[in-house]
């Protein structure tokens, strides 16, 4: 065996083991191919690979022991090249194997395209071998060996044979590496596909449990046939039909014709418009009788925007609807009752007073015209008749006031309570000019409330204080305000006869009186009116007192929160 053969065999076997080791690392394999080839043939080696279409060649690796040559090579072999314009493509398209030991530019000019010729000239190539790598019917690329060192013997048939073997080996190694890569990619792809499937199953399971447990009927219909493809538990419970009987059927199989037609019309409308349709109220006949639904119909389209399914979500609003109807009925009744009360009050005001006027008036006529005939007892009786008639008139007036307080629509305005207090005092003073009562309510005391109702309340409270201080040696009435836990508490106090706290609970009831009419006249309606006014303002009223020690009437006007 010659030294040359031994060296070549060593190079080839080294290359073979390097190639097989590099099966899993593609870039390392490309480098190993060019390096082995360059060393075996003591030349420059470059490797270009075909794109998928097997037309364009892209340089992927190059090697020369001399780094300067390598750098120059890399610059020259950057661009992809059409196979038909490559050295081998032009010189030996049939065999795919070109061997030119000595480049004769004159001959080459005849056979090569100008750019290929230019490359040979510029790189000062002496000779070259270019081999197309074909493995298992696949054309992989071109391995090119370039000799530019003119001090060495030119490339010969032995070099050509070794290059051909190396190209063959490299081709198999590349093919294997590619197969490996493809297999790996497929494996990865399969794994991610499995992951996607798992994720999909998980999100489907989530959707399923949401649909199953949502307290609204959810159904899905096929867009074409409008037959049910999906149905949830709330839907089964609502309709009283198991989904196994529903899937694949249409509305016409379950509902009366007019209802089914309505549903289907709404379905078609939803799908045609391709937008959500809201049906605030629709009746539906179920196993448990008629129910009312609030339904939203949603078109579900495929990736091309064509309707594929119709999604329906229905809330059972039967109860709300029934409650609303009951509420409306109750309101109508209340309104009617209020109207009736108004008519009643009007008639009380007008009709009940007329006979009282006659009783009082004719009793007085008797007293004037027949005084002699009546005698003293008769005249006394006539006076009692008149007093009773007038008392009844006062009762009627106070009751009317009480009912008016209830009927009045309260408005909220800024009201000066001190002003109301002084107005009430002034009215009382005018009715009894002879009395001297010390009053205390200076400045302003602003509160939010209905001015008319509050005026009525002050007339009552101040009127009471005025009345019950009639026998006090130095009567005094005052209005004060204190804040208790941020709430305004108003107090009208007097130093009159007071009352026994044991009866304080009876103070604010209608017709409840703690004094006889002989002691202090009154109807027993005033404080009931006060209580109602305070309540209508969202406040409270209470009283404190002691017999002979005066009374304190407290009230609030519901000003605690956000007023």
């Amino acid at each position: 065996m010659t030294d040359r053969l031994r060296v070549a065999l060593t190079e080839v076997s080294t290359a073979a083991s390097a190639f097989s080791e590099s099966t899993t690392d593609y870039d390392q394999l490309l480098a190993a191919i060019t390096r082995s080839c360059a060393r075996a043939l003591k030349s420059t080696c470059s490797l270009s690979l075909f794109d998928d279409d097997e037309v364009m060649l892209t340089p992927v690796a190059g090697y020369d022991d001399d780094p300067k040559v390598l750098a120059a090579l890399e610059v020259m072999l950057q661009k992809p090249r059409h196979y038909e314009r490559s050295l081998v493509g032009q010189l030996s398209p049939a065999s795919g194997n070109a061997f030119v030991p000595e480049v004769d530019l004159a001959v080459m000019r005849e056979r090569l395209a100008p750019d290929a010729l230019e490359f040979l000239e510029i790189a000062n190539i002496r000779g070259f071998i270019a081999i197309t790598m074909r493995v298992r019917g696949e054309t992989l690329g071109v391995l090119t060996v370039l000799q530019h060192d003119r001090t060495r013997p030119p490339l010969d048939d032995f070099d050509h044979e070794i290059a051909t073997h190396l190209a063959n080996l490299a081709g198999f190694a590349l093919s294997n590496a590619r197969l490996f890569r493809r297999a790996q990619a497929e494996l990865v792809g399969r794994q991610s596909a499995e992951q996607i499937a798992t994720d999909l199953r998980a999100s489907e399971a989530l959707l399923d449990s949401v649909l199953e447990n949502i307290p609204a009927m959810v159904f899905m219909k096929d867009a074409k046939e409008l037959s049910f493809v999906r149905f949830n538990r709330a839907g089964e419970e609502l309709l009283g039909v198991p989904r196994t009987q529903l899937i694949g059927k249409s509305d016409f199989d379950f509902f009366p014709r007019d209802e089914a037609e309505f549903f289907v019309a709404k379905d078609r409308e939803t799908l045609r418009a391709n937008e959500v349709v809201d049906i605030p109220e629709e009746p539906i006949r179920t196993a448990a009788g008629e129910r009312w639904l609030h339904t939203r119909k949603v078109p579900i389209t495929d990736e091309h925007g064509k309707p594929r399914y119709l999604l329906g979500i229905s809330h059972d609003i039967t109860r709300q609807k029934r409650d609303m109807e009951l509420l409306e009925a109750a309101r109508d009744v209340a309104e009617a009752a209020n109207k009736e009360l108004e008519a009643f009050s009007y008639s009380v005001a007008h009709d009940l007073r007329a006979p009282l006027r006659a009783i009082d008036g004719f009793s007085q006529a008797l007293l004037e015209d027949c005084a002699e005939a009546l005698g003293e007892t008769g005249r006394d009786y006539c006076k009692r008749v008149r007093a009773s008639a007038q008392r009844m008139a006062a009762l009627i007036d106070d009751l009317l006031m009480l009912s008016r307080v209830t009927r009045t629509i309260a408005r909220s305005q800024n009201v000066d309570l001190c002003e109301l207090f002084r107005t009430s005092v002034a009215t009382l003073q005018a009715s009894e000019p002879g009395r001297t009562v010390e009053t205390e309510a200076t400045g302003m005391l602003m509160a939010l409330g209905d001015p008319k109702l509050l005026a009525i309340m002050f007339d009552n409270l101040v009127g009471n204080a005025w009345k019950f201080t009639a026998r006090s040696p130095s009567p005094k009435i005052s209005l004060r305000m204190t804040k208790v836990n941020g709430e305004c508490v108003y107090c009208i106090s007097d130093n009159g006869v007071g009352f026994d706290m044991a009866y304080s609970h009876k103070l604010f009831g209608v017709f409840n009186r703690l004094h006889t009419d002989a002691e202090f006249p009154g109807t027993g309606v005033g404080l009931a009116t006060v209580h109602r006014i305070v309540t209508r303002h969202g406040g409270r009223a209470w009283a404190e007192g002691e017999v002979g020690e005066g009374a304190r009437f407290y009230f609030t006007l519901g000003d605690t929160k956000g007023r």
Binding site: Y346, R357, D360, A393
Partner: protein
């Protein structure tokens, strides 16, 4: 002076009697014409129907009008009197039982000159009638004819 009458529109016989008594006690000597429902009141004012033949010289110096009346109510009577150019200046005093706010407001709205609630206490009623007569029959200067 003889033609100056008080027109009392009152359906309640007791109230009529008491009003007449109160007027007498107040020394008001004007002739009082009593009509008992809204239709009759308008007939008298417009000299038509049952009062078509009444003397043209009779003129209502003041009209005492109840609101709650048979057939046509007081507010409608008021409206028609005010709508007619011949009668629109007649002083009209509403004399009624009602102190419902809406009645008072509508009464004035329809052109009443005064609104008086009949008190139950006859003494007070006499006082009210006395003041009323004093004002409309003595103090008030009517529109010159």
């Amino acid at each position: 002076m003889n033609g100056q009458v008080i027109l009392l529109v009152e359906d309640n016989r007791d109230d009529e009697e008491l009003t007449l008594r109160a007027l007498a006690k107040s020394n008001i000597t004007n002739r009082v014409v009593v009509v008992r429902d809204g239709v009759e009141a308008l007939d008298w004012m417009f000299r038509r129907g049952m009062h078509a033949g009444r003397p043209e010289t009779d003129v209502a110096q003041v009209l005492l009008l109840d609101l709650k009346l048979p057939k046509i109510d007081g507010l409608e009577v008021l409206r028609q009197i005010r709508a007619n150019s011949a009668t629109k200046l007649t002083p009209i005093v509403i004399l009624t039982s009602s102190v419902e706010e809406q009645d008072i407001v509508r009464g004035y709205d329809f052109g009443a000159n005064s609104y008086i609630r009949k008190p139950v206490d006859f003494t007070q009623f006499v006082d009210a009638v006395k003041q009323l007569g004093m004002y409309w029959l003595v103090l008030n200067q009517p529109v010159p004819r």
